[in-house]
C-alpha cells in the first residue's frame, strides 16, 4: 500500500513545470500492484473510476504530461543549436502555428542584434529552402503582414547616434496614428510601420521618451488594444519589461502551454544578458514551480555568473 505521503509525492512530481524524475523513479522501483493501485485511487487529478470498474488515466492529464516530459528534451535540443538555427526554427514554427504565436516572430525579430537576425535569415534558407520574408508574406494574410515582414527584414543601425528632432516628429506621427483609433488602421499605418521597422533601437528609445512627454502616457499604454504593436514597442524599447511579462505568465498558477513554452525559448537564448537579469527576479518562483532535470537546466543556465 502506498502511504498518503507517497501519493502526495507522486502527485507533486507531476504537477508543475517539468517532472521530478528522481521522485518518480524511487516510487516506481518499489512499486508493486497494490502500491500502484492505491496511487491510482489516491490521485484524483490523474485517474478516475471507469464505468467498467478500473482506475483510468485521465486523457487530458496524459496530454499535459506529454508536454511536461517533453520540456527537458526541447530545452536540450534548442540550447545546443547554433543561435541562427534556433531562431530560424522558432520563426518557422511560430509562422505555422498562426496568429496566436506571431508574438514570437516579433520577439525574435526585435530582441536579436542586427547580425543575429541576419544569421537567422541565412539559416532559414538552409533549413526551409525559402526566405523567411517570402514564407511570411505568402502565409500571413491579415493586417499583420506588413508589420511582420518588415520586422524580419530589418537590418537596424546599431550606433548610438540619435537625432532628437527626428525623434520628436516621429513620436508625434505615432501619436496621431494611434489617436485615429481603428486597430487595423494603426497596424497598417505606413508611418507606424516605417518608424518601428526601420529606425535604430536607440532612436526608438528616444521616440519612446518623447512620446511620453507629448501624450502623458507611454506608447505601450496607448497601444494596449493592438497587442502585436504593443509587443513590438516593448521588445524594441523596454525589453526587460517584456521579458518580465513573459516569465510572469509562464510561472503563474494556471499558465497555459504556450506561456510555459516561453521558458524553454528564453532559457535557450542564453546570450541575452537582459534575460538573465530578469530571470534573477524569478528565482523563487522557479524553485517552487519547476521540477526535475528541466529545473536544473533553468536554474543552472540563468544563474550563470560572469566567467
Amino acid at each position: 500500500m502506498a502511504s498518503p505521503s507517497e501519493v502526495e509525492v507522486f502527485n507533486h512530481a507531476l504537477s508543475g513545470i517539468g517532472v521530478d524524475e528522481n521522485s518518480l523513479v524511487s516510487i516506481l522501483v518499489k512499486s508493486h500492484d497494490e502500491h500502484k493501485k492505491s496511487i491510482r485511487k489516491g490521485c484524483s487529478q490523474l485517474f478516475f473510476e471507469d464505468e467498467r470498474q478500473f482506475e483510468r488515466w485521465n486523457q487530458t492529464a496524459i496530454k499535459s504530461l506529454k508536454a511536461e516530459f517533453k520540456r527537458f528534451k526541447d530545452v536540450v535540443l534548442l540550447s545546443l543549436m547554433h543561435p541562427w538555427e534556433r531562431d530560424a526554427r522558432l520563426l518557422n514554427k511560430a509562422l505555422k502555428k498562426g496568429p496566436q504565436q506571431y508574438n514570437i516572430i516579433v520577439e525574435i525579430a526585435c530582441t536579436r542584434s542586427s547580425d543575429q537576425l541576419l544569421g537567422a535569415r541565412k539559416a532559414y534558407h538552409s533549413l526551409f529552402d525559402q526566405s523567411i520574408e517570402e514564407h511570411l508574406a505568402s502565409h500571413v494574410k491579415g493586417s499583420e503582414r506588413k508589420l511582420l515582414v518588415a520586422l524580419v527584414s530589418a537590418y537596424r543601425y546599431e550606433g548610438s547616434k540619435v537625432k532628437e528632432d527626428t525623434a520628436k516628429s516621429e513620436a508625434k506621427a505615432l501619436l496621431n496614428a494611434i489617436k485615429d483609433g481603428d486597430k487595423k488602421k494603426v497596424m497598417e499605418n505606413d508611418e507606424v510601420v516605417r518608424i518601428l521597422t526601420t529606425r535604430s533601437k536607440p532612436h526608438l528609445k528616444e521616440v519612446y521618451q518623447q512620446y511620453k512627454k507629448i501624450s502623458g502616457k507611454t506608447i505601450i499604454e496607448d497601444l494596449e488594444v493592438v497587442l502585436l504593436l504593443k509587443e513590438t514597442v516593448e521588445c524594441l524599447c523596454t525589453p526587460q519589461a517584456y521579458f518580465t511579462r513573459v516569465f510572469d505568465a509562464a510561472l503563474r498558477d494556471n499558465a497555459n502551454e504556450d506561456a510555459k513554452k516561453a521558458l524553454t525559448r528564453l532559457v535557450a537564448t542564453q546570450e541575452d544578458e537582459e534575460i538573465k537579469e530578469v530571470a534573477a527576479k524569478f528565482q523563487d518562483k522557479i524553485e517552487e514551480r519547476v521540477k526535475g532535470a528541466y529545473k536544473d537546466v533553468l536554474v543552472g543556465v540563468l544563474a550563470k555568473e560572469e566567467t
Binding site: K122, E134, S138, K146, S153, D190, R194, S200
Partner: protein, 314 residues
C-alpha cells in the same frame, strides 16, 4: 564577362608610387591615374589604397578627390571604391536627390546577389550611420516606399529549388493584377520582393508562355505616378539585367546631351561583372559598338577612363 583587364602580378607599392607622382606638382597626370587604376580589379585597388596609406600617411581617395574634378573625378571616385561601399554611395546619392532617383535604388537592389546586397547594407550603415531601409523609407511615400523598402531589405533564397505550381499560381496573380490595370499592388510587390530570382524567372517565363507577352509589356500604363515605372524597372532588372543595362546605356547616350551619372554608374558597376555581355547586347541592338558611342559622346579624361574600363587596350 568582365571587361577590365587587370594583370595578375602587380606591385601595389609601385602603383602607389606612380599615383603619388601623378598627383604631385602642378596639375595631375590623369593618364597615369587611368593607366594604373583602370587596369586593377577591386581586390588590387583595395591593396593599392592600403599601400598608399602606409607609404604617404594619407587616404588616396581624399587626395584624388582634391586633385581631380568634374565627371572624371566622379567616375574615378566611384571606380576606386569597393563594390559594396560604392553601391552604398550610389544609393545615398539617389536617395538624397531632391526628387529621389528611385530607379537606381531598384536597380541596385535587384541586380546584386543576396549576399552583395547585405554587404551594401552594412557599408551603408558604416558610412551614413543609418540603415539603408531607414533612409529609403524616410524619403519616399506610399506604394513606392513599400516597394523600395521591401526590395532593399530582401534577402532572397539563392538556392536552386523552384516550385512550378507556385510559379503558375503567381503568374496568374500577376496577370490578374495587371489586366484590369487595377494593379493589386500588395500581391505584386509581395511576389517581386520576396521570391527568389530563380523562382521569379520561372514565373516570368510562365507568364510569357500563357500570354504571349512579357509581364513588363503589360505593366505599361500612365497612372501618372512614379510607381509603375519603378515597378517596371524592378521587373526588368530581375528578368534580364543585361538587357536592362543596355537600355540604361542607350538612354544615357541619347543624342540630346549625355546622362553622365547613369553612364558612369553602369560602366563602373558592371566592368568587373558582365559589361562584355552588355556590350554585345548593345552592339546588336544599336548596330554600333558601345565604345564608339561612348567615344562620340564624351571627351577628355572622362572619356579615356570610360574607354579603359570598357576594355580598350592602351
Amino acid at each position: 564577362m568582365a571587361t577590365i583587364d587587370a594583370p595578375k602580378q602587380v606591385s601595389f607599392q609601385q602603383d602607389a608610387e606612380v599615383l603619388r607622382k601623378a598627383c604631385q606638382g602642378w596639375g595631375t597626370d590623369d593618364k597615369a591615374i587611368i593607366s594604373v587604376l583602370g587596369h586593377r580589379n577591386a581586390a588590387q585597388r583595395k591593396q593599392i589604397r592600403l599601400a598608399y596609406e602606409q607609404l604617404y600617411q594619407e587616404d588616396l581617395i581624399k587626395r584624388l578627390e582634391s586633385e581631380l574634378s568634374g565627371d572624371f573625378e566622379r567616375a574615378v571616385y566611384r571606380w576606386i571604391l569597393e563594390p559594396a561601399d560604392r553601391d552604398a554611395v550610389l544609393a545615398n546619392v539617389a536617395i538624397k536627390k531632391l526628387s529621389p532617383d528611385n530607379h537606381v535604388i531598384a536597380e541596385i537592389s535587384c541586380t546584386r546577389s543576396p549576399e552583395e546586397l547585405l554587404a551594401v547594407r552594412r557599408a551603408y550603415q558604416a558610412r551614413y550611420k543609418h540603415s539603408l531601409e531607414e533612409d529609403v523609407a524616410a524619403h519616399t511615400k506610399g506604394d513606392i516606399r513599400t516597394l523600395l523598402v521591401a526590395l532593399v531589405t530582401a534577402f532572397r533564397y539563392d538556392g536552386e529549388e523552384i516550385n512550378t505550381r507556385l510559379a503558375n499560381s503567381e503568374a496568374k496573380i500577376l496577370h490578374d493584377a495587371v489586366k484590369d490595370k487595377k494593379f493589386n499592388h500588395e500581391e505584386v510587390i509581395r511576389i517581386l520582393t520576396t521570391r527568389s530570382k530563380m523562382q521569379l524567372m520561372v514565373t516570368f517565363n510562365r507568364y510569357r508562355d500563357d500570354h504571349d507577352t512579357s509581364v513588363t509589356k503589360h505593366l505599361q500604363g500612365d497612372s501618372g505616378d512614379e510607381f509603375l515605372p519603378v515597378l517596371r524597372t524592378s521587373v526588368r532588372c530581375l528578368n534580364d539585367p543585361k538587357k536592362y543595362f543596355e537600355k540604361v546605356l542607350r538612354n544615357s547616350i541619347r543624342r540630346t546631351g549625355t546622362d553622365e551619372d547613369a553612364l558612369t554608374r553602369v560602366i563602373v558597376t558592371r566592368a568587373e561583372k558582365d559589361l562584355k555581355d552588355i556590350k554585345e547586347v548593345y552592339h546588336k541592338r544599336n548596330s554600333v559598338p558601345l565604345d564608339q558611342a561612348v567615344a562620340k559622346d564624351t571627351s577628355g579624361d572622362y572619356k579615356a577612363l570610360l574607354l579603359t574600363l570598357l576594355g580598350k587596350q592602351d
